[in-house]
């Protein structure tokens, strides 16, 4: 039972970030160092603000957390200083809270009842989640949970992003022999190479993989499934296959000057930067001293922004064709508990750079050497149609962060399961594709989405696989393939 007056006694406070000037000089996480006891107290006070709602919207799938995190329950346990119990309750629904506690945009906080009248007043759910997870690892209470008995069935999981890892962990714990296939050299998928290190320390991935490993999950990196091994091979070798291959088909813009040197996909930039951080040698796309323009106002754009700051770019401009969102919630357009359509200012935005709205790139302008020199942009309407005069923005490096279009094309798709019009893999209510024994989850099914959705789908698909293999399952399924968030549409 929560402290009913907690929210009246405490205001929302987030753990402090390091000063901008300091943090942009390195790749470490931006959180300021804080004494553990003080941090615990801060987090406990914040957890005390949770009201233990009769209807915890934060916990609901349609508005809050797709994982169904038992947020009020672990908030209360944290309030009562019962960190180990909180970790158990947290891990009951979430395989990787140390990831989501850092990089989830936290729809739970949008849906928090305290955000009803003031979106900035929500319980700091994400920070509490992170604190519980960090506490648990520090206390050594995150231990391998190998299955009590083996089923003798085997599963191949393709892709080691959050969806694949979640499915793999659930299936391993259910007693199946699971092998994870990863195309890259390191495990983690987008967590590893898509997310900048200042948002999430990559060591966290290794630490978690170690737990999976100890539980019996096997991993194979550098395997481009579809090519080698082929899907058919996997289907022959394993009793079931889970495709968690992400939605890596990036959108492109077919504009004049598109081929100029200095025009890159955002993902190219981010992946290369991450490899650099991992010690794989300097990135070929460095922003140091360059005038950077990021095209696209979403999260990937923001990641490029933070990375470019750390590359010490000369200037950074982020363009968005959409109107600037309001600073406060528009009750008609995005009423609580929906994620509010308001101007989001990430820590990367706080670090600098310029944002421009209602502008669309018309063409890229190069110099004589075929290097990008500037962008010609114009004011546009909601349909990206030009409504104003063109003007130039000087630019050496343009990063295209304009979204993804389903599963990356390749041989996997050529002879693989049926896809949807959106380029993602189709499946039935049991997550099975039209290929028997082949399941899908994560972005590969849903399209580019949040890490919590990836984990939720991984968990749910694991139940589908387990049922497929054994005829029944006790694994939880937080979502169904047709789960959708609430909208006013």
């Amino acid at each position: 039972m929560a402290d009913p007056r907690g929210f009246l006694r405490y205001r929302r406070i987030e753990p402090p970030h390091r000063p901008v000037g300091e943090r942009t000089r390195d790749w470490a996480e931006i959180a300021a160092p804080i004494a553990p006891a003080e941090h615990d107290r801060l987090i406990r006070d914040q957890a005390t603000r949770c009201m233990d709602c009769g209807i915890p919207f934060c916990h609901s799938g349609s508005a809050g957390c797709p994982l169904g995190n038992l947020i009020p329950e672990w908030n209360d346990l944290v309030r009562r200083d019962l960190w180990a119990e909180a970790s158990r309750r947290l891990h009951a629904t979430n395989n990787f809270p140390e990831f989501t506690g850092r990089i989830c945009p936290a729809p739970c906080e949008s849906a928090c009842v305290l955000a009803l009248s003031d979106p900035a007043a929500a319980v700091t759910i994400e920070k509490i989640e992170q604190a519980i997870a960090d506490h648990a690892f520090a206390d050594g209470t995150v231990t391998p949970q190998p299955p009590k008995r083996r089923t003798g069935r085997s599963v191949a999981v393709v892709g080691s992003g959050p969806a694949g890892l979640a499915a793999a962990q659930q299936l391993t714990r259910a007693g199946h022999a699971v092998t994870v296939f990863e195309r890259d050299d390191r495990l983690g998928g987008l967590l590893r190479y898509g997310i900048p290190a200042y948002k999430m320390d990559k060591a966290l991935i290794d630490r978690r993989i170690a737990q999976l490993h100890a539980e019996g999950t096997r991993f194979r990196t550098g395997c481009d499934v579809g090519t080698d091994p082929t899907l058919a091979r996997l289907r022959a070798d394993f009793d079931a296959v889970v495709l968690a291959v992400g939605a890596g088909a990036t959108r492109d813009m077919d504009l004049p000057g598109h081929d100029l040197s200095g025009v890159h996909q955002a993902m190219e930039y981010l992946v290369a930067a991450n490899h650099d951080c991992e010690g794989d040698g300097p990135t070929p796309i460095h922003a140091a001293g360059r005038r950077v323009v990021i095209i696209g106002g979403g999260d990937t754009g923001a990641d490029c922004l933070g990375t470019a700051h750390r590359h010490r770019a000369a200037s950074i401009t982020q363009l968005d064709y959409r109107v600037r969102p309001p600073d406060t919630r528009d009750e008609n357009r995005s009423p609580w508990p929906l994620v509010p359509w308001v101007l989001r200012t990430t820590p990367a935005h706080a670090e600098g750079g310029e944002r421009r709205f209602e502008v669309g790139v018309q063409r890229f302008v190069g110099d004589d050497h075929g290097r990008l020199r500037a962008l010609v942009v114009a004011e546009v309407d909601a349909h990206r149609a030009r409504v104003g005069a063109e003007f130039e923005i000087p630019c050496d490096l343009a990063l295209l962060a304009i979204g993804f279009d389903g599963v990356r094309p390749g041989t996997l798709l050529d002879d693989g399961p049926a896809t949807t019009a959106r380029g993602t893999l189709d499946c039935g209510p049991d997550w099975q594709t039209d290929e028997p024994g082949v399941f899908v989850c994560g972005d590969a099914h849903r399209g580019a989405s949040l890490v919590v959705w990836a984990i939720a789908e991984g968990r749910a698909a694991a139940r589908g696989v387990d049922t497929y293999l054994t005829g029944r399952s006790r694994l939880p399924a937080p979502v169904t393939p047709d789960s959708r968030v609430l909208t006013t549409g």
Binding site: L8, D52, C53, I55, G68, S117, Q169, R474, L486, T488
Partner: protein, 1507 residues
Amino acid sequence: MLYSAIPAARGLYDPALESDSCGVAAIVDIQGRAGHDIVVDAIRALQNLAHRGACGREPATGDGAGITLAVPAALFDAVTDFPLPPPGRYATGLCFLPRDPDDRARARRRIENLAAAEHLEVLGWRPMPVEPERAGIGVTADGCRPHIDQLFVAAPAAAGVRPGGLDLDRLVYPLRRRAERPGPDDAPAVYFPSLSARTIVYKGMLTAEQLAHFYPDLRDPRCVSAIALVHSRYSTNTFPSWTLAQPFRYSAHNGEINTIRGNRNRMRAREPALRTPRIAGDLTRLFPICSPGGSDSATLDEVLELLHLSGRSLPHAVTMMIPPAWENDPTLDARRRGFHRFHAALLEAWDGPACLPFTDGRVFGAVLDRNGLRPGRWWRTLDDRVVFGSESGVLDLPPDQIVEKGRLEPGRMFLVDTGAGRVVPSDELLAGLARTHPYRHWLRAGQVALADLPRPDARPRTCTATPQAHRLFGYTREDLDVLLAPMAGTGREPLGSMGNDTPPAVLSPRPRLLYDYVTEMFAQVTNPPLDSIRERIVTTTAVAVGPEDNLLACSPEACRRLLLPGPVLTADELDTVRTLTADGPHPALATRVLPALFSADGPSGDALAAGLTALCRAADDAVDSGFGLLVVTDRGAGPDSVPIPSLLAVSAVHHHLIRTGRRTRVGLLVETGDAREVHHVAALLGFGASAVCPYLAFDTVRALAVAAGDDPDTAASNYRHALVAGVLEVMSKMGISVLGSYVGAQTFEAIGLGRDVIDTYLPGTASRIGGASLSDLADDARARHSAAYGESDSGTEELDSGGIYRYRRDGEPHLFTPETVFLLQHATRSGRADIFARYSDEVDRLAAAGGALRGLLGFRTGVHPPIPVEQVEPEERILTRFATGAMSYGSISAEAHTALAVAMNRIGGRSNSGEGGEDPDRLGDPLRRSAVKQIASGRFGVTAEYLADATDLQIKMAQGAKPGEGGQLPGGKVYPWIARTRHSTPGVGLISPPPHHDIYSIEDLAQLIHDLRCANPRARIHVKLVSGVGVGIVAAGVAKGHADVVLISGQDGGTGAALLTALAHSGTPWEIGLAETQQTLVLGGLRDRITVQCDGGLRTGRDVLVAALLGAEEYGFATAPLVVLGCILMRVCHLDTCPVGIATQNPELREKFTGRAEFVEQFFRFVAEDVRRRLAELGLSSLDDAIGRVDLLEPATAVAHWRAAGLDLSPLFVPPVDASGGRPQRRRTRRAAPPAGETLDDRLRSAAADALTGSRPVRIEARVRNTDRTVGTLLGAEITARHGRAGLPDDTVRVELRGSAGQSLGAFLPPGITITVTGDANDYVAKGLSGGRVVVRPDPTAHFAAHTQIIAGNTLLYGATSGEVFLRGRVGERFAVRNSGADAVCEGAGDHACEYMTGGRVVILGATGRNLAAGMSGGLAHVLDLDPVRVNRDSVHLTAVEPGDLEPLRKLLAAHRDRTGSPIAAALLVHWPCAAARFTTILPVDYARVRAAEQRSEPATAGAGGG
């Protein structure tokens, strides 16, 4: 049922639920001088009680009236054509026989044969003259009228003398009982109102007026008696009968026996052990002692008769059955305690409100129940007669003839022995009874207290609280977090708020516990719930367990008992009990443990049945082996054995032992892992266990305490305290005060249990829609078992979430989900019909998936061709049928309260003030006022002005979320503006008592309806009931009480605060209650005179239509409009922390309120449109056409739920018929006939015309009598209507009355009226006094000293807000209850004076009863020569009169002296101020604090009264 118009059970109507209540009176000549005038006076008294009886559809058919006389031998000598033995040597009685001559002949022949078999001599039959035409009896009564003959029998002479009197009564008793039982030869059964050598009863389905007209005997001057006892019946039901009219053979009963089910079960269980030398022959020919089909009063009389005829005096037998509250009375002497304790071992108390006069022809006596919930008054006259009556003024006695008058008091017996020619003082009588045997000695030898048993060697005990055990018994995280932890921490069951929107257990997708299938019954209207907190002195939770002896004997063996301090035992204590062995010092209490387990293999239902059979066989074996205590245990489960749900195990054993005649030979205890909530323990006790050891729960709270760093012993002790206090609360809801009587009382109704479960294992439990089978229950138990013992591979060790109190995705389904709340709010805020359609579809889908019973009902669309929606009546007409639920200003904020009112006023619907008054600023404002004003038990803010402003007045008898319970507004929510509206003190918590203290019976409700009608003749009067078995019959009583509207609330209704047990486990869905109400009203021909409203979780147009088809004309919504205003079901209403500014008074939070009246309007328009669309689909053009059309409902085809297979909803669809054969009326078509005739108030109104118009003072003199009820209120209403709150200048209208004023004298009287009665007054004087003045003083010619005598009855000044009352004499129970601002003086008071008082100044110049100032939180009482032990000090302290109070006290004394001529007041004033030292001030602690703070800050305004 013989000679009755009671129809057979049909649909949801069950005649077994009929109950009654009434008026009684008696005339007794103390010297035993028989006279016809006594008969005449008694009949006159009966007629003066006519208003307490009731009439059904026809005024000429009464509910029943009758008279008991000593046998008038001279009359019978004269009218018989055969010789009679000397008086007393023959027995006689009326005999109700078939009208058909052949049947009659056969019946008489059978009686004669039986007489011969009983060795009795039939002296002859006298055709009883009756005059139905002269009496003018109604068609219904005449239709079922029996032929009546009078039988005379005698016993053969032994030694030349025929046996007579009591001896003869013992001989004819078997004859009568056998004759009344249907014979094997198919001869029709008959009924004898009495058959006795000593008394004779004349009774029938008559009105009080008709009785003497119907029986010419009663008018014959030769009909003489020294004792005449009369009774007038108000059967709650519509269907009275000739046989259930009263008096019965020995008693007449005004009240209700709440424990009747358990009493009957136990009597049946006792039968095998019954033996008495005083009744000849085999007693089995008399069984069952409790005749089937009898009323509770009839059963009570049957047992009383048995106890009496088997050797106990009538007063002794009565004291056994209705003992005083001896348990907590330190003043009782040891011998009397011994007497009561001994008899408690023999017979449980028959608990419930009762005024029970009784007679055997020689003695006349009367007692009240331990609570004193029925009035009883008596007068002794100069010529040594006693007049007794349930109210004052039943006879016009010249004041100068009265030498003494008094009232029945709880715990004391009033007894006249006409043989000895004296009134036997109560103490003498009871002390005499206590001396008849060495009871104390016997008890010392036979009884053993748990504490006295040697503790077994302390064995290290392994903690049972493992995850495996928790899974095995279905524990959820919620059980741990929401229930157990708070109980262990605080010692109290936690509170919750809002309504319950989860499915009934039978429809739940989760394996619910069997407990969840039974819901607690609660008292409403016909019997009051109790206040177990403030009136703790009448309750006891101690329990004695062990074998019983022959009830009819009196021997030391009868009290071999183990005394338990309470019904919840720890494992250690149970181990101690287990040390009782056959070779120990208490062999009669030797204990055997019976495992309650079943196999994990084989077909589940068969396995469970086999387990139960084995358990019952083991119980048989244990009893036969001489064990005196059985412990049913579910310990010992393992991979192959599954625990039997302990409720099933206990009830199965209990009923099996009853069936096989073994039950009373053992005490039954249960040791279980599944019980953890209050409801669980209550159910185990209610179904037969005497005590419960919830070992797993105890271990769990200890483990939780250890984990949290708390002391495990304290946690366990707190937890037990919470359980026991909670059980007491559950008992109190049913009006049961004694745990021993609650055990086995089965005050539960099942929802969703199939016949196979009910009939075999829970027999006698109402279960009206079938449901889960034994296999289903076994499957659920096995599912839990396999969760515990099967492999766990979910990757988590967590228990299930539960999700009942807090929504969880993997928990119990709810109807309000994140999605539906969002859609509803967005739809009504944006005005988007498409979103509203999504909302409706989703709610209806959730309901159909099993979320609510109504979801399982489908519409039959093909009956009428669909019509275009344009042809359906307009939205505006539908909107007028909508109401919002009662939510008080105080529980919700001014913004929310006003928004609802504005919305409803705009659309022509009605909002409801709730119980908390209304801001005077809103009264009279057509836009902002609440059209419906509620009158609840707290009477907060119920002033004349408030009543006058109402369109509807709603009497809240119960609340869906917590029926049978009161309410509390915690001090923290009593902000100054709330206190002002409620006439209380800011910061001081407010209590609404569980009962209305002016409604202890159905006739009291009729009285309150009448009071309100007088206070506002234009308003409709509602009565709000909660759905529960029998609600239809209460609704019929409400209709007969001339209410305009009856509201049936579902158990899912909301609340600002309720105990979780009540929220989850009390009441039933409205679908059942509404259908039962409709069927019963139609059956009784009452439907056309009352409007039926329905509420409880209505959310969509579909809900409205289901309610309409089931019979409701109007529809209330509460939670849904709140959600529209922004409520997100935080469920913290009780904490004042509502984050959306609705259920809070905190200004900071109210800032966050975003609701607007327009949203609410939009909601109702959407719903109305939805209703129109659905009506069109059904081919109906108006809601009127839909009301009661159950033929358009059918079970939904899509019911896929596995456990629902056994559900049978067809009782809901039974088309009602009219019992009289008329065309069934489906809805209201006429106004309730207001009681005819000019009242005293009508005359007062004309006489006061001058004052009303010109404010010119007038003085009116008149006679008054007890039938003049609510005197002054109509006149007051006129004044309020013309002059508002301020009324008229003081003393403008002076009404001088002489006589005995009827009930509710001066109710709601506004300023400017003074009513002075010279004589006396009945109950409820100055109820709701609103500024007027009431004076009652004795007649100057009276012989007695006024201050020693009773001047006015019970429950005076209830909810008074201002004004003055002066009473020269003593008054009854609960003087100044909930007074919140009036000043009053009396000269002595009964128990519970100043209870719940929140304001005003009360002066008591005489002795007080017990429990003075219980729950008093405001105002002051000054008591002369106070006996401090009488004070309940929980919330008050005692001080000398403070200087600032001296002058107000003196002024009141002076006014009392001047207005009443009180010599006491005069004497005190002569010695003033020295006399002030004799007063003690009772000062509520909270009030003192607030008063002190006020005096510090603004000394000028701090005055007494707070109002």
